[in-house]
Amino acid sequence: MNAETLVAMVSIFTAGLTMGLGAIGPALGEGRAVAQALLAIAQQPDEANTITRTLFVGLAMVESTAIYCFVISMILLFANPYWDHFLSAGS
């Protein structure tokens, strides 16, 4: 159990945790948004275009929170700053 293994373990574990926890909120939010949009379209079919467009833009905004989590987990897995440090220290 040297330092590199520990860094690798914690990084992978945290990446999974970040993505998992970070996806819950946006998923719930987007689900609510879609449900509301469906309701709105059902009530006002004439406005379907505007509602759909606004929905997509809103979903993209909500999605960006999940995207930040995705970026963090990608950094942890593929561009972890501590990797190089420990690899250079280990060799």
Binding site: N49, R53, F56, V57, L59, I67, Y68, F70, V71
Partner: protein
């Protein structure tokens, strides 16, 4: 010479060649050819979308937003072609596209409303919000780049993994879903670029409109 570079040029060549072929013998006829008809419909759809979002003359933004949309949409829709990797599944491409938007927002904004009025928007709704407005400018650009990249890359990776795991049928379904998300992502990218650019000009226009109504009703 990476695959991204190759396919980027490939998609661009397709767009240029297609447009050139379709508009080579363009003339105002009652019966346009198939390709001319298709392109006209496409351009008209994009113009309508821009008009609905900005409530302005769509031709001011058509060149930029339309190009973004067509490039991203084509590179995403070609995904099922064997051996083809969407250039938008690489972070370099999406970052470049997002940087274009990042530069276009102040450029168009300053051109439309002037430097002082554009910079004053960073003090809206209150001068205390200035750092957050500046951070938002950067973070939304990051989100723009990573959203497209994440969606496309995950689609490509999932496709590749599934091909090795399960036989024919299921990956095809996933690819169809990938086509849908790819198209929606292209739409979202273009619309968000448009919204960012338009919001850089809009505050001032609203203020002008308010002033005009005040002048008209003394």
């Amino acid at each position: 010479m990476s695959a991204t570079l190759l396919f980027t040029w490939g998609v661009m060549a397709l767009l240029v060649l297609g447009s050139w072929l379709a508009t080579r013998r363009i003339r105002p006829t009652l019966r346009p050819g198939r390709w001319q008809n298709f392109l006209e419909a496409l351009v008209e759809v994009i113009r309508n979308q821009i008009r609905e979002v900005t409530h302005q003359d769509p031709d001011r933004y058509l060149w930029f937003v339309g190009t973004l949309f067509l490039f991203i949409a084509l590179s995403n829709l070609l995904a099922p072609v064997p051996g083809y990797l969407p250039p938008t599944a690489s972070l370099s491409t999406t970052t470049a596209l997002a940087l274009c938007v990042f530069v276009a927002v102040p450029w168009v904004g300053i051109r439309e409303v002037g430097l002082k009025a554009y910079l004053r928007q960073y003090l809206e709704p209150h001068p205390l919000m200035l750092p957050f407005n500046v951070i938002g400018e950067f973070s939304r650009t990051l989100a723009l780049a990573v959203r497209l990249y994440g969606n496309l890359m995950s689609g490509a990776v999932i496709g590749a993994v599934l091909i090795t795991l399960v036989p024919f049928f299921f990956p095809v379904v996933m690819q169809l879903l990938g086509l849908l998300t790819g198209f929606i992502q292209a739409y979202i990218f273009a619309i968000l670029a448009l919204v960012y650019i338009a919001s850089g000009c809009r505050v001032q226009q609203e203020r002008r409109a308010r002033l005009r109504t005040q002048e008209e009703s003394p």
